[in-house]
Structure formats: C-alpha cells, structure tokens
Symmetry: C2
C-alpha cells in the first residue's frame, strides 16, 4: 500500500491519478500567474506548480494561493529562503531537487515543512545529476534523499526521478516503485516540443500507468501549459483511468471508405470535448470492421455508399441517408446525456 499524502485538499497515493501542470508566467506578475493557474485548473489540472526563483516571487504566493482554486506547489532551487517564505504564505507542497540544494539549506526547508505540515516532493532530474549513470542510481538517489528528510524529522514526501530519455525514465520509476511506498510523481523532463514531447510523454507515462505505477502525472511540453493538461487527460483516457469522457473510435479510412470519416470524427470529438460522461462512439467508413466496432460502442455508424447503418447498444437502429449521419449521431448523444 502507498502512503497517502495530502496536498491541500488533494490526496496523492489514494488510487486515483492526479493531473498537475506548471505555470510559465513570471510568478511575481500575480495577475498573469493567477490567470494561468485558473486556466490550467479549468482545463483539468488538480495541482499547479509555480517556479519561485526569488523572495519577491515567494511573497507573491500569498495572493496567488488566495485567488486560485487548486493547491499551489512551490518549485524551489538552491536556497531555503524562498521556500520558507512560500510555506509561510500558504503553498500546499514544496518541490526541491536534492542536486540543487545543500544539506544546510535542505534542513531549513524540511524544518519549516514539518512546522506547517507541508509535504515535500523530491524531484531528481538526470539533467542536474550527471554523476548518476543508471536508472537504478536515479531511483536510489531519490530514496536516499527521502531518508535524509526523514532523519531531519519529516515524512510527508513524494518522489520523482525524471530523465529526458523514455526508456531510462520508465526503468528508474519501476525501480523506485519497488523500493518505496511514497507516492510517485511521474513524467519525463525536458520532453520536447508539442508533438514529439507528446509522443515521448505518452509512451513513458502511459506504460508506467499500465503497470499501475504513478500517483500524479505531469506532461512537460515546450508549449502552452494548457496543452500539458489536455495531453495528461488524453493519456489517462487512453489507458482507461478516466472513463468520464466521450471517446470517438474511428477507422483510418482506406479504399473501402464510403463516408467522410475524418471530418465526421473530428466534428463529433470537437462537439463533445468538454462532456464528462462516458460515451463511446464509433465512426467507421465501411462494414468490414464497422459493424463490429459499432457494436462495441454505445452507438456509431458504419458507412455505406448512399445510406449508412446507425447502431445503438450493439443493435442496428436504423439506416439513414449519408447526409443525415451527423444529425443522427448528435441526436443519440443528446439522448444519452439527457438520460
């Protein structure tokens, strides 16, 4: 069993996977930071981290914490001073990287965390720990730091071991998961640009989640952080850990395709993107796999040359002219939503 760690109102280690992201505003620009935290929360982030590079940013946290709807995490490097101010100003978690903080500074942070009951995430990054050569060394170094923090008198800890390499990251987390009961924050570091970073993050985070590893996830993309939250949601949906969404399964189209599958699938996905009820809709270009997939979905269409078959709950519902497919599916969605 995992230890359960409370980050404000959010529990880590309790079984559900918590989505988090990080602002990229100037933290001390309170207005911009609050706006971005709200935007991230609206998109689905349950925790938001902000970088706290100096005292001014740390003092700004008081207002940021008060004006935002999700627990705020302070990202701290090198010095204990911003961490101490951040804790006094209401943050719900501190993230430190043991390779960017000496023992004296760490001890001051830990003491303050214990006093205010604020959990610490130990986030080891390969990029700042070049003496660590193997995934096992990354994992052990994170746990060593947790033991150090325990010795300093505090045990509300979350662990992370990130690399920019998918295989290395997956192996490091597998090891870490074996050797500790602390909740794990999973993700890649410096994953990359929007598309390639998404592919790397999906593989690393997705394969760990499929193995039951991970308590909170952050997708790092070199892009607007709102895209990180959408990507995180899609990863959870893809591995079946978030079923409260409208899933459009659609065929890749081929010479057998009789209807505009791409347009129809994209349109249905767009219409339903903010729905939080579980519906599976199949948009299939022909009957080869169409009938089967449509039967596996709540409802769907299998395209024909002029008329197409609409399925519902595994049964053929009706045949409609191809110009009427979209409306038929929209009607079925509305019916499902209205109970």
């Amino acid at each position: 069993m995992k230890k359960i760690i409370n980050i404000g109102k959010v529990k880590l280690g309790a079984g559900n996977i918590v989505i988090q992201s990080m602002t990229n505003t100037i933290t001390k620009d309170i207005e911009s930071t609050v706006a971005q935290v709200k935007e991230l929360a609206k998109a689905g982030a349950e925790l938001v981290r902000v970088s706290v590079p100096d005292k001014e940013s740390a003092f700004a946290l008081k207002e940021i914490v008060n004006l935002t709807p999700v627990p705020i995490i302070a990202d701290i490097h090198y010095s204990s001073e911003p961490a101490i101010i951040a804790i006094e100003n209401g943050v719900s978690k501190i993230r430190i990287n043991p390779y960017n903080m000496n023992k004296k500074e760490l001890s001051a942070v830990v003491k303050k965390c214990a006093e205010f009951s604020v959990p610490i995430r130990v986030g080891v990054n390969k990029g700042s720990a070049k003496d660590l050569k193997t995934p096992r060394e990354l994992a052990v170094s994170a746990l060593d730091c947790a033991h150090l923090i325990e010795d300093m008198g505090w045990d509300k800890i979350v662990l992370a071991v990130k690399s920019s390499d998918v295989r290395e990251t997956v192996e490091a987390y597998r090891t870490l998961n074996e050797i500790t009961d602390y909740p794990l924050h999973i993700g890649l570091t410096e994953a990359g640009t929007e598309k390639y970073g998404l592919v790397k993050s999906a593989i690393a985070i997705g394969s760990l989640l499929l193995e039951g590893i991970g308590d909170t996830i952050r997708v790092s993309l070199t892009a607007n952080p709102v895209k990180e939250v959408y990507a995180a949601k899609q990863i959870l949906q893809a591995v079946g850990l978030d079923k409260n969404f409208v899933e459009v399964v659609a065929c890749p189209t081929c010479a057998r395709t009789q209807i505009d599958v791409v347009g129809l699938a994209e349109k249905i996905e767009k219409i339903t993107e903010n729905y939080t009820i579980p519906i599976k809709i199949a948009v299939m270009g022909c009957t080869v796999n169409g009938i089967g997939e449509s039967k596996g979905a709540d409802f769907g269409v299998a395209g024909g040359k002029y008329r197409s078959v609409i399925f519902k709950n595994g049964e053929k519902l009706k045949t409609v002219n191809n110009s009427e497919i979209e409306n038929a599916l929209i009607e079925l969605i509305a019916e499902k939503i209205n109970g």
Copy 2:
C-alpha cells in the same frame, strides 16, 4: 528467435522495426494510389498496404507494384478472388482477417500464396471478432489461424491482434509474443483522430517496443496516412530504436525562463526534420537543469538574461548575446553534418 519472413526486399523478424502504412485512395485509381504510395515511402514507410475490395482493384495492382518503390501488401476481405489476382499481379504480402473469410476461400488464398511464395498476415481485429472476449482469446485465435494455414501447406506468416483499447491490445500482444515465433505486426485498430489516436498509438506501440515486442508497426490515424508514418518514426525515436535523427530536448519553460525556448526549439526541429544523422540538441531556458541537459547533449544552450551559454560535447564552448543563439546552434549543426 523470431522466424524471418521476407516481404519482397524487406525482412520482418530480423531485429529492426519496419514502418508501414496504408493508402486511403481508391485503389483502382492507379494514379492517385501510386502517388500516395510514393509519398508514404518518401516519408519513411518501408511497406505500404492497399485495400483490395474488388477484382478491378486487384488488376490495378500490377501497375501500382511496378510504379512504386516499396513492397505492396494487399488487404483482402471475404473473397479469395481479389487475393489470387493480387498475388498474380505481384504483391509482396496478403493480409487477411480470419473472421472475414471462410475456410474454403482461405484455402484458395493460401494455395496461391504458397505457389508464388507470398507471405500472409493474419490480422485479427476485435471489431470483427466479437465472440473473442479476452486479450488471450484474441492472441490464441490468431495463432489458431496460423496453424490452420500451416495445415493448408504454407508457413510464411505474420500475426496481428488489434483492438481499439490500449490495455487490451498490449495484453493480447504480450500473450501472442509468448506463444509464437512468427513476426508480429503491432498497432491499434481504429485508434481515432489525429491527436487522441496518436496518444493511444504511442502508448500501445511504445510500451510493446520497450518490452522488445513487435517487428513491424502501423500507426492507424483517422487522418492523412503520411501523418501515420511521421508518428511511427517519432515512436521509434522516442523508445531509442531509431537514433538517426536530430533530437531537440527542450524544457517546458517556467518563471525562470530567460529566452524564447518554444520558438527556438520548434525552429531547430523544423530546420532539421529531414536530417538522418544522430544529433541531440538541448534548448534550455535557464541554468537549473540547463547546464546538465546541455552537457548530456551534443550541444545546446542554457539561457541567461542577456547572454546565454553555448555548450558542446559536455563543455562550455562560449557565451553569446541572446540574439545570436540561433545562429550559434545552426553553425554547430552544420559543423556536425560536415564532419
């Protein structure tokens, strides 16, 4: 050891992972189909499958095979007749789904395959095999079909078991990998639209490849099939199975960021997207992880307020004004390429 199966000039089961895609043109429209096969091959597809729904499409294959640079696979359902014509007209592989073909038709296809030494892919899709409830049943049904084909006198076989569900697909392939030595074609079926389909495919294919499972991959997207090839390449790159590309690692930016990381990373990625030599470039917004990641890369930049540090081969090379970063990186890329 895997059995090695020759698909024309391409070997499956020999250790490297072969990228394939499928046309979505009307096959009998020879001009469009040839153009798309060429486009897919140029993007990186090593095998291309075409749907062969009728005799006219099958006869069109003669010209398509002659005019294209990669082995062509004929996708056949229900009837043996198009398969037989396709084989006589030079295709390098036949794909059948045992749930869409009776034994008599299958036997005729197998006989022709043996005569012309054309391998068969048995592609079981959950969508067309609703009586198969578990991943194990999917895997066993594919192997049963392979045994049937062996009994009919042919053993050049490739196997696939696809579902639109990530977890089910991964588990089915794990089982299949344990029980057979035939090469495996891996992928999801009806994965979905461009973005969500990419996330699902990256997780399913990526986690299997990380376990050493898979000999050829197809990413199915409800989108232009060229995007499937790019996605396949990115998946191989992300799991370290294709090192011949320019990898841009970049930080997700935060309050510490001093330079335009997003713009710079996207630009470098764009400039180098068709390069096939292995270079790792780090674009980092500050020095927290920047120096470490830059050292892990061939070269890179760690941003500062006005001037930034350019690293090469783990060492600080020079400091440049922020307006000069892009040119400094481009110079280093050119230097690397020219030897």
